[in-house]
């Protein structure tokens, strides 16, 4: 693949003795939406959390193998730099409850001690909220607490918070699983808008969501990467038996 942004080589992930991921090899193309799907416990979320090294936070968790962001080995990069380049949006909206909407969006800068002028801050906040299609809904209430927003709005606030750091890649861990269908749709539309500037990796349980939004799909099963291909090809003509069984609803 010519324009790959992330290259995963022989990645293994463990919780204590239990092997969660075994020998994952994958190249992720730039400015595309990549869906990771598979039944519960297949390791897709662990894989996602390996990419920004959140996996290692859990006591007893470790990894083997390499992941390269462009040419840099992420296990040799400064952790703080890595996480600024790879943003993440979580399953449940998690805005900082002590902060206003404005402070939430700019929190990546303030918490990291990066000083900005008032004007710069306002620009970043407006720009990020616009990109997260939340600006028109909250522009008059920027100084209210983020937790007063609806679930879908909170999730878009969290997306804006990631966008503000201008990452290369944004990881989404089932971002719509706690939202109603209308809010989910908005997030999906948003993903399609975002892909011209960012590479998006999204974990989803929802096959339709994967089919609708993603350009590439990776199918995980029991900690192994069974198949990775263009979404259209993977859904219309799966190469592996397990993939076919899964997308036709025979298990999972």
């Amino acid at each position: 693949m010519e324009n790959s942004i992330l290259k995963v080589e022989h990645l293994n992930a463990f919780f204590g003795e239990a092997r969660i991921l075994s020998d994952i090899n994958l190249e992720i193309p730039v400015n595309q939406i990549i869906a990771l799907m598979g039944p519960s416990g297949c390791g897709k979320t662990t894989f996602l959390r390996c990419i920004n090294r959140l996996h290692e936070l859990t006591p007893g968790a470790r990894t083997e193998g390499n992941i390269y962001l462009f040419k840099d080995d992420i296990y040799r990069m400064n952790l703080i730099v890595l996480r600024r380049k790879i943003g993440m949006v979580f399953q449940r909206p998690n805005p900082f409850p002590t902060m206003s909407i404005f402070e939430n969006v700019i929190s990546g800068y303030t918490l990291n001690g990066i000083s900005l002028s008032k004007l710069q801050k306002e620009e970043i906040v407006e720009d990020s909220l616009r990109k997260a299609s939340l600006w028109t809904e909250v522009k008059d209430n920027l100084h209210k607490k983020g937790t007063f927003l609806s679930g879908g709005q909170q999730q878009r606030l969290c997306i804006a918070r990631s966008l503000s750091m201008k990452p290369d890649i944004i990881l989404f861990d089932e971002p719509t699983s706690s939202l109603d269908p209308i809010s989910s749709n908005k997030i999906e539309e948003l993903l399609l808008n975002l892909k011209k500037d960012y590479t998006i990796i999204i974990v989803t349980h929802n096959l339709q969501q994967a089919a609708r939004t993603s350009d590439y799909t990776a199918f995980f099963y029991l900690g192994e990467l069974i198949e990775f291909n263009k979404t259209q090809l993977l859904f219309s003509n799966p190469a592996k038996r397990q993939t076919e069984d899964y997308i036709s609803g025979r298990f999972g």
């Binding site: 890595l82 996480r83 998690n94 900082f96 409850p97 990291n112 990631s162």
Partner: protein, 281 residues
């Protein structure tokens, strides 16, 4: 059939009535105490009571200014020692709950809570008063600080444990270093809990006499030097209520009234702060 249902209905009523009755009964002692102390103490309260020293036996009037200042200083020093310390221990216990050390620290804090205050007083006497050679308010503050630790540690730990892990992860995923995540995201979220635990522990030790008997000792004059003996409200009450003079009894009642009002006030402030600073996740 109808009759059976009726009996059940009455049983329900009886049960509910019983619970309410017992609940009301449990507040009766408090109300009686408050009523009695107000009745006995209110007559001593006037402006002079707050700005004068106690008078010698035989003279009417006199105040408790030495004890008020002393209590303020002793409890403030104790808080300065116990609150930061206790909050950090609580933080450790909630952040590293799986560690063996955390288990043992948690256990020791529980045991510490059970140590009688008089024992703490004697121990601080042996460890601080004896080596330095004299009673001091500082030694009293140390004894009180040790008493304050367990509730502060516990309330901090419990508050911080309730914060969802994904909030911490959200901060780490933004590239915020761990220590800044703790200081600027996690601790501010736990502030109301830490503060209410601290205020409650202050109101609890403000009335302690036993740990101060062998440490701060008491002082009939105003003293602001923490290395010298100092009076406090409970010490003054203890000494004057045990005396044989009617005037001193009156002073002790007045001091009790002031002490109880202060504790009541602290408790109410705590409740208000808890409600106002409550954080929704």
């Amino acid at each position: 059939m109808d009759k059976l249902i009726k009996i059940r209905f009455y049983k329900d009523r009886l049960f509910k009535g019983g619970i309410i009755l017992l609940t009301v009964l449990s507040t009766v002692p408090l109300l009686l105490i408050l009523f009695y102390i107000i009745k006995q103490g209110i007559s001593s309260i006037n402006w002079d009571f707050f700005i004068n020293l106690p008078k010698p036996v035989g003279e009417k009037g006199g105040g408790i200014v030495n004890a008020l200042i002393g209590s303020g200083i002793i409890v403030s020093c104790a808080s300065l020692m116990a609150i930061p310390f206790g909050a950090l221990v609580g933080l450790y216990l909630s952040e590293y709950k799986r560690d063996k050390l955390a288990y043992w620290v948690g256990l020791s804090v529980d045991v510490l809570q059970g140590i009688p205050s008089i024992v703490l007083g004697i121990i601080i006497y042996l460890w601080v008063v004896k080596p330095t050679g004299h009673f001091s308010s500082l030694s009293g503050s140390i004894a009180l600080a040790i008493m304050m630790l367990p509730p502060i540690v516990k309330s901090t730990e419990e508050t911080l444990k309730l914060i969802p892990g994904t909030i911490k992860e959200a901060s780490l995923a933004l590239g915020v270093p761990y220590y800044k995540t703790i200081l600027r995201v996690i601790l501010p979220m736990g502030l109301s809990g830490i503060l209410s635990g601290s205020l409650l522990s202050i109101s609890r030790v403000a009335g302690e006499t036993a740990p101060l008997l062998f440490t701060a000792f008491g002082n009939p004059f105003i003293n602001t030097n923490i290395l010298k003996p100092m009076s406090s409200l409970p010490l003054l009450i203890f000494n004057y209520a045990g005396s044989a003079y009617e005037d001193w009894h009156k002073l002790a009642w007045g001091a009790s009234f002031v002490l109880i009002m202060m504790i009541l006030f602290l408790n109410i402030v705590t409740k208000i702060l808890e409600r106002r600073w409550k954080i929704q996740f």
